[in-house]
């Protein structure tokens, strides 16, 4: 291949790469919604790609919280009716969580 063609191919390649998603990058699709109502998280278990934004909305008539059981990944304030809590998980893994006010309420996020 002549040098010129090589340079041109390299430029094309670089151009192409700059538009391609890099490995493990954020999936900037719509946020995943979880509803809190009747003392439950719905859906109770969600699978998301790493970097997806997750939004909880409290539709119940009593406050709830969203707290990861590992004690560090995410923790919301008390959410009154219509309050929201958002988190973005970038590390793959399983994240069980619960409501620290009503601990029988549990849910799970699986990040792939």
């Amino acid at each position: 291949m002549s040098r010129r063609v090589l340079k041109f191919s390299m430029s094309l390649l670089l151009l192409a790469l700059s538009y391609a998603p890099t490995a493990g990058a954020a999936d900037n699709s719509a946020p995943v919604a979880i509803t809190i109502d009747n003392f439950s998280f719905t859906p109770q278990e969600v699978k998301v790609k790493a970097g997806t934004t997750i939004v909880w909305t409290n539709r119940d008539d009593i406050p709830h919280t969203v707290v990861s059981t590992d004690g560090s990944s995410f923790k919301s304030k008390a959410l009154d009716t219509d309050d929201k809590f958002t988190t973005t998980l970038t590390k793959p893994g399983t994240y069980p969580y619960y409501c620290s006010i009503h601990p029988k309420m549990t849910g799970k996020i699986v990040v792939e």
Binding site: I62, T69, Y97, P103
Partner: protein, 319 residues
């Protein structure tokens, strides 16, 4: 409005062998407002508004209120201020004025300073000015209970537990709403249990014990978290006592259970009712027709008399 109230005597827990006639006489308390006392094996009765009843040796008379949820404003009760005021009016109208009050938690709805302030302000109108509190899970949001303890836990240890004596009766306030684990129930924790064991170790077996805590200390309904993971250990320290009464809140309805020497009782809320166990998809606030609301909210009066196990626990609704 006495004829409209739903006053029930739940039990006259007396082991001193009152004869049948005496027992039936005591069961007429609610209607005649009489206090029955056994002194030296002999049954005596006092009208409840008789000052002599108040000064019967070692008598303790107090009121339990619970779950005021100041700040709640949803359809189940848009006016929790009004219903708490009605509870205070009810307390002030009792024929025997209680010496003090217990509040078994969920004072506030969202742990906001203004909510605590409002409750304090309303309770200023109650005749019994001394109030002993334990926190509910709604009182310890965001700050692990620091604000609660600053306001109500001055003489307490750990997350807010403490004990005190009144006229020969030993009161123990426990905290079972901290550090709740996923999937779990209420929890007392090791440090509090160790404190409790020490606290009661040297008390005479004849001393009546009254324990108060927010979440029930017996398993009312585990699916809804209505119970305490480690209460059995706490109760094991109280086995030696002849009379133990446990007063709780949290479930917003009255319920009682007797197990050996222990009598468990839960109080109504002054804010909103909750469904009976399993009767609804979840334990949240239950909307009833407006004109019925005050009949499902209430207070609990408790009177105990030294020298015998008689403990009168009387629930009164607000209407």
């Amino acid at each position: 409005m006495a004829d409209k109230t739903n006053d029930k005597i739940l039990f006259d827990h007396n082991h001193d062998g009152i004869d049948r006639r005496g027992f039936l006489k005591c069961m007429a308390w609610a209607g005649t407002g009489a206090l029955c006392v056994v002194e030296g094996g002999v049954l005596k009765s006092f009208a409840l508004n008789d000052p002599a009843a108040n000064h019967a040796k070692g008598q303790v008379s107090f009121v339990q209120i619970s779950d005021s949820h100041m700040g709640f404003n949803k359809p189940a009760n848009p006016d929790v201020v009004g219903t708490l005021k009605a509870a205070v009016d009810k307390i002030n109208a009792l024929p025997v004025s209680p010496e003090f009050m217990l509040h078994t938690g969920d004072i506030s709805h969202l742990s906001k300073p203004s909510e605590f302030d409002n409750v304090d302000q309303i309770l200023k109108s109650a005749k019994p000015q001394q109030v002993f509190f334990v926190p509910g899970e709604h009182d310890v949001l965001e700050d692990n209970g620091a604000q609660y303890r600053e306001r109500y836990g001055k003489n307490s240890s750990g997350s807010g537990w403490y004990s005190f004596d009144k006229n020969g009766v030993h009161f123990i306030g426990l905290v079972n709403v901290m550090n709740l684990k996923a999937g779990g129930l209420g929890s007392l924790g090791g440090e509090q249990l160790e404190w409790l064991e020490r606290d009661v170790k040297h008390l005479k077996h004849s001393m009546p014990i009254i324990v108060f805590a927010h979440i029930p200390l017996w398993t009312v309904y585990p699916d809804w978290g209505w119970g305490t993971d480690d209460s059995a250990q706490a109760l094991s320290y109280l086995k030696k006592f002849g009379s133990v009464t446990v007063l709780n809140g949290h479930i917003h309805q009255t319920m009682q259970k007797v197990e050996g020497n222990v009598t468990f009782h839960t109080a109504c809320s002054t804010a909103f009712p909750q469904p009976k166990p399993g009767a609804a998809p979840s334990p949240g606030p239950m909307k009833v027709p407006d004109e019925q609301l005050r009949s499902v909210l209430g207070i609990t009066s408790v009177q105990s008399v030294k020298g015998q196990h008689a403990l009168a626990v009387t629930d009164s609704t607000l209407a």
